[in-house]
């Protein structure tokens, strides 16, 4: 097992026991990635902050709901924050507040800490390079799916493609990502 995963589990066990320092350690480790995802989905810093706060408080209250058998802690944290962010986005959209999804609405600060920036951007850079090697259609459906959470029928309507084609692009895109990024490089 990856030593960082062992470390994650030890920290999460301490979180389950109410250890705030362990929560702070996990926060420092994962918030840059979680906040980046939330901001990419919501586009507004205030909304992204709320989504990330909701996610961490859920982790704090419900740390026992993490099941190591279903994947790494990072994947669970990403699921929690993505779900919170998408729920918030849909709620805002229904109230007409999330009208623009082309450019970020707020100015945001890039990561300043060189070590943290390196660790987050190294894999991020490889993922973006891999995405650039997909077809434009494959990349588009994957980005809409992950960052907007639209059902495939709505993705098909959005981009004007048949549903079967959208399903096919989704499969081909994820398959190609796996080929371009072997699992041993996901660190």
């Amino acid at each position: 097992m990856d030593p960082s995963q062992t470390d994650d589990r030890a920290l999460l066990e301490r979180v389950q026991q109410g250890d705030e320092q362990a929560l702070a350690a996990l926060y420092d480790r994962y918030t840059p990635l979680l906040y980046s995802v939330a901001l990419r989905i919501l586009r507004r810093t205030a909304d992204a902050e709320d989504a990330v706060q909701d996610a961490w408080l859920q982790v704090w209250r419900r740390a026992s709901s993490y099941d190591p058998g279903r994947g790494a802690l990072a994947a669970w944290l990403l699921t929690v924050v993505r779900t919170r962010a998408l729920d918030r986005y849909r709620s805002l959209a229904s109230r007409g507040r999330a009208e623009s999804r082309v450019e970020p609405e707020d100015q945001v600060a890039p990561i300043e800490d060189p070590t943290r920036r390196a660790s987050q951007t190294q894999l991020g850079g490889r993922v973006r390079e891999a995405l650039a090697q997909l077809t434009a259609q494959q990349r588009q459906v994957l980005e809409i799916a992950y960052f907007e959470g639209l059902p495939q029928t709505e993705i098909a309507q959005r981009i004007g493609a048949p549903l079967g084609t959208v399903k096919s692009w989704t499969r081909q895109g994820l398959s190609r990502l796996r080929e371009l990024l072997p699992q041993e490089e996901w660190v």
Binding site: Q53, Q120, E143, R171
Partner: protein, 272 residues
């Protein structure tokens, strides 16, 4: 299910991993998982990993420093909802109460092996250390066996009540659950079937006490076997009116005292 090609299964798995399948396709996936479709399971593992990589496509940005203080302040003692939650004793998903006898047999064999190992060792100091360790292991086994017996007694108790949970119109009609609730110890063993939650969601169990819900924890089902939950402190018979299951966003409802999603199963506790 009308699924015959590898590409179709892969397409379902890819959409499921991203949480973007339409309702009909999602049900097809869950039905196939419930039937033990190994190819689909493997595809879901592969695509689940690849889908998580998409997070790294987000431009990296710095979270505001004030957010850290907000989160930690909100989490400080006294504001921790889980502190009042009942303790949930997690089991492996394929295990059932009927396995208790097998468990005891295994423990006895392990204890015998530990003693046999001990007598074969040489050296007084080494033996002394190993003896202490063996005694501690045996003591731990005895504690574990006593705990197993307590749970087994629940199943045989004349006071134990059976509560069958059935799907509501909002739930998958294949889902079933049987709760064995002992009013005296306020413990319960609940066995669920066909409880694979949609991607990005979890099922959450609730006790309805005096008409108010209280979370009993998440139900970790994969659809390929029963899920057994052992619960303590589920409530007094005078107040416990029912068990219920809701479908929640991943990680469960925002609070421990109210479902955030639809109630998909319910079962009334008779005589309460």
């Amino acid at each position: 299910m009308g699924l015959s090609t590898r590409d179709e299964i892969q397409e379902l798995a890819a959409g499921y991993a991203l949480g973007v399948l339409d309702e009909a396709d999602r049900r097809r996936v869950e039905s196939l998982l419930a039937s033990g479709d190994a190819e689909l399971e493997a595809a879901l593992r592969d695509f689940g990993d690849a889908a998580a990589l998409m997070a790294h496509a987000a431009p990296p940005v710095e979270a505001p420093a004030a957010l850290r203080a907000r989160v930690l302040d909100a989490a400080r003692p006294g504001r921790r909802g889980a502190a009042q939650a009942p303790r949930v004793v997690r089991l492996s998903e394929r295990r059932s109460p009927a396995s208790a006898a097998w468990t005891w047999g295994w423990m006895a064999a392990a204890a015998a092996l530990a003693v046999a190992t001990f007598v074969s060792w040489r050296g007084a100091e080494q033996t002394r250390v190993q003896l202490a360790e063996t005694r501690e292991r045996l003591a731990q086994m005895e504690r574990t066996m006593a705990e197993e017996r307590r749970w087994a007694e629940l199943l045989g108790s004349p006071h134990t009540r059976q509560v069958r949970l059935t799907a509501t119109p909002a739930g998958d009609p294949r889902m079933t659950a049987m709760a064995m609730y002992d009013p005296q110890s306020q413990r319960a063993i609940i066995t669920f079937e066909h409880m694979a939650a949609p991607a990005g969601h979890d099922y959450e169990l609730w006790a309805i006490r005096d008409g108010r819900p209280a979370s009993l924890g998440l139900i970790h089902g994969t659809g390929d076997g029963p899920v057994v939950m052992r619960l303590e402190g589920v409530g007094a018979v005078e107040t416990l009116g029912a068990f219920a299951v809701s479908l929640e966003a991943a990680g469960g409802a925002p609070t421990d005292d109210a479902p955030g999603g639809p109630v998909v199963m319910v079962g009334a506790v008779a005589g309460s």
